[in-house]
């Protein structure tokens, strides 16, 4: 417990805040602390967590990615055509195709960043515009509804009828989320590559001199982000049963806020899977609580913004991030 507090100060504070909010909400609204509400929260936020664990790897490696949400839209759109060509497909093919397309888009970012020594925010803002513009141009903004059956049919993996007669259910995206979280945790905590990612993010020049393959680090970080973007996109279409080219526009900043709230440092070297989950959870629970208390939906974002602002003001009262600017010439 003490080592948890020492090694994950931001995560610990965030967890405390989350517990306080949950306690307040359960006394304010009887329907908050129910199994149905809990599973609904999981189902609705699984995609954000999938993207968050992808993004945290990039942040740990000292980069930032603005383009992943529109990359996910590109993957969704391409997937519809690929599945059309091969005449259907199934979940196994779906994951492979979406993952591969996502990885390719991520590797474009990694290549530009490494080969031409452009920093990641410039590259990903450029690819954000390029991906989105090209997608909107070629799709003319058309919605696609002709998804294969396996893709759009609900997959309920666990269900339970509560005493009130409502069903609590766990759907496919939640399971994918758990797998993504576990895989990311294994990658960054239990492999040499993971340790190298932290080292590279904390001090790129030092890592290079220690013999770490810089190109490989960028490729792994952005490839992983791309993989998660693709799979998240696949899940998102599974939930909404349609592909809308501009549906995910703007989601990247929400996910980024959640991940940084969860203790990942812009500048590299810090971040955890638990933090991602807690960051997404804090925003989701706040919105859910406002909804249950009957607050106007128009006020949601206002309160969420305020919550993030207060949370970072509270959790950032150390100056290490500001007073140690790192010039990342590599």
């Amino acid at each position: 417990m003490r080592s948890f507090l020492r090694n994950y100060p931001t995560e610990a504070k965030l967890l405390a805040v989350l517990v306080v909010i949950c306690a307040a909400l359960s006394s304010a609204s009887p329907s908050f602390l129910t199994l149905v509400n809990f599973t609904d929260l999981l189902n609705n936020n699984a995609v954000n967590v999938i993207w968050a664990v992808g993004l945290v790897v990039v942040l740990i490696a000292g980069g930032i990615d603005i383009s992943f949400a529109v990359a996910a839209s590109v993957v969704q759109y391409l997937c519809v055509f690929v599945f059309g060509w091969i005449g259907g497909g199934n979940w196994a093919i779906g994951f492979v195709v979406a993952g591969a397309l996502g990885i390719s888009l991520g590797l474009i970012n990694a290549f530009l960043i490494h080969q031409f020594r452009i920093i990641s925010i410039v590259v990903t803002i450029a690819t954000f515009n390029a991906f989105f513009g090209l997608l909107m141009f070629f799709s003319s903004g058309r919605f696609l509804y002709n998804l294969p059956g396996w893709w759009s049919d609900r997959l309920i993996l666990w269900e339970y009828e509560t005493s009130g007669g409502t069903w609590a259910e766990i759907r496919l995206p939640v399971v994918v989320m758990v797998v993504a979280m576990f895989a990311t945790w294994a990658l960054i905590r239990h492999t040499t590559t993971g340790r190298q990612l932290y080292a590279f993010g904390d001090n790129p020049e030092g890592a290079r001199r220690a013999g770490i393959n810089i190109a490989l680090m960028q490729a792994i970080a952005f490839g992983w982000m791309g993989l998660m973007a693709g799979i998240g996109g696949l899940m998102q279409s599974h939930i909404t049963r349609e592909v809308v080219p501009n549906a995910l526009y703007g989601r990247e900043l929400e996910v980024l806020a959640a991940v940084v709230l969860g203790g990942a440092r812009l500048g590299g070297g810090r971040g955890s899977v638990l933090g991602c989950f807690l960051g997404v959870a804090l925003i989701a629970v706040t919105q859910n609580g406002l909804n249950l208390m009957g607050v106007s939906p128009y006020a949601f974002k206002m309160v969420v913004g305020l919550t993030i602002l207060i949370a970072i003001s509270m959790s950032n009262l150390d100056f290490s991030a500001m007073t140690a600017p790192k010039r990342r010439d590599l």
């Binding site: 530009l112 515009n129 090209l134 900043l253 290490s320 600017p325």
Partner: protein
């Protein structure tokens, strides 16, 4: 030639080269590109993006980012619209426009100041603080307007958005004045110098006796102020206010700054190349438009163009190294 290069910087010459290239290319392919009407439309479209880019510029030079610019502009525009609508709407007197504009400027500056204070005194990262502010302001705006449009403004607003003085569009004059003020601020004042130093190395700046916290607060306050100017202009140009209007411009302003040679880590950046970069972007968009492409293709081309320029800069940086070694 060297003196010219020193005065303007290689950045400016390169960008002017690009501009000439773009003009020649579209002049040959799009028959209506080299017409007064086209340049007129560029001159009317540029200021909105330009003012927002100026608002983005100073935070980037100080090593941060202000992601809340578009919604700060929206909220400031909303303030003006509210003052006008509560005092007669279409019949509101000029004095209420002045009051409303002052209100808009105060609201914009206040939004910026809150961000600046949080960034300066808690040490939170500017991206995150401005992101939270952006989400908050968007929510506030949606809460106040219920997502709808607000319109019905007096007629005397029209010239501000669409008028000409001596043949020059009024918005362009407004933008030129704002850019000039920003140029003076960055190159000739103590505050501009402090902002640049903070962007280079905040700790060294603090040890050199610069009040970094006050400077940071002022940087974001000024950024908010410039957003408010953009917001007022948007009210005049579109004769309506909608929260979310211009949302797509957010990342384009960052793109324009980087294209204009501003260092993404802060510390280096000038107004003149950024203004030229804006003209290049607008010319690209307008030329593609004349060729029958839509705004989305322009967005894609802007992105690809930024990558192209960064790659060329990398190539240019390689040449002297090769010669030496």
């Amino acid at each position: 030639m060297t003196r010219l290069r020193n005065a303007l910087g290689g950045e400016v010459l390169g960008l002017i080269g690009f501009l000439i290239l773009v003009v020649i290319l579209f002049g040959l392919t799009a028959p209506r590109f080299l017409t007064a009407a086209n340049f007129g439309s560029i001159a009317f479209q540029l200021p909105e993006l330009g003012l927002l880019t100026l608002a983005m510029l100073i935070p980037i030079i100080s090593g941060g980012l202000n992601l809340a610019i578009v919604f700060t502009a929206n909220i400031a525009g909303l303030t003006l619209a509210w003052v006008l609508n509560t005092h007669g709407g279409v019949d509101a007197g000029v004095e209420w426009f002045v009051v409303g504009s002052l209100g808009a400027l105060i609201v914009g500056a206040l939004a910026g100041m809150v961000m600046g204070l949080v960034i300066a005194y808690t040490g939170a990262h500017p991206i995150l603080v401005s992101l939270a502010m952006m989400i908050f302001l968007r929510g506030l705006g949606e809460f106040l307007t219920k997502g709808g449009d607000i319109s019905g403004f007096p007629d005397y607003l029209r010239p501000l958005g669409h008028g000409l003085i001596l043949g020059i569009p009024v918005p362009l004059i407004l933008f030129a004045v704002a850019a000039f003020v920003w140029h003076i601020l960055l190159t000739r004042t103590r505050h501009g110098f402090a902002a640049t130093m903070i962007g280079s190395n905040i700790r060294a700046a603090a040890y050199s006796g610069i009040h970094t916290k006050r400077t940071l607060t002022l940087i974001y306050t000024l950024s908010g102020l410039m957003c408010a100017v953009a917001g007022i202009l948007m009210v005049a140009r579109f004769n309506s206010v909608r929260v979310g209007h211009g949302e797509a411009l957010l990342l384009v302003t960052v793109l324009a700054c980087f294209l204009g040679g501003v260092d993404p880590f802060g510390g280096f950046g000038r107004v003149v190349p950024v203004v030229i970069a804006l003209i290049v972007l607008q010319a690209l968009s307008s030329g593609l438009n004349l060729l029958g492409a839509n705004q989305h293709l322009s967005t894609a081309v802007w992105g690809l163009f930024l990558i192209g320029v960064m790659v060329l800069r990398w190539v240019a940086a390689q040449i002297p190294k090769r010669r030496k070694g």
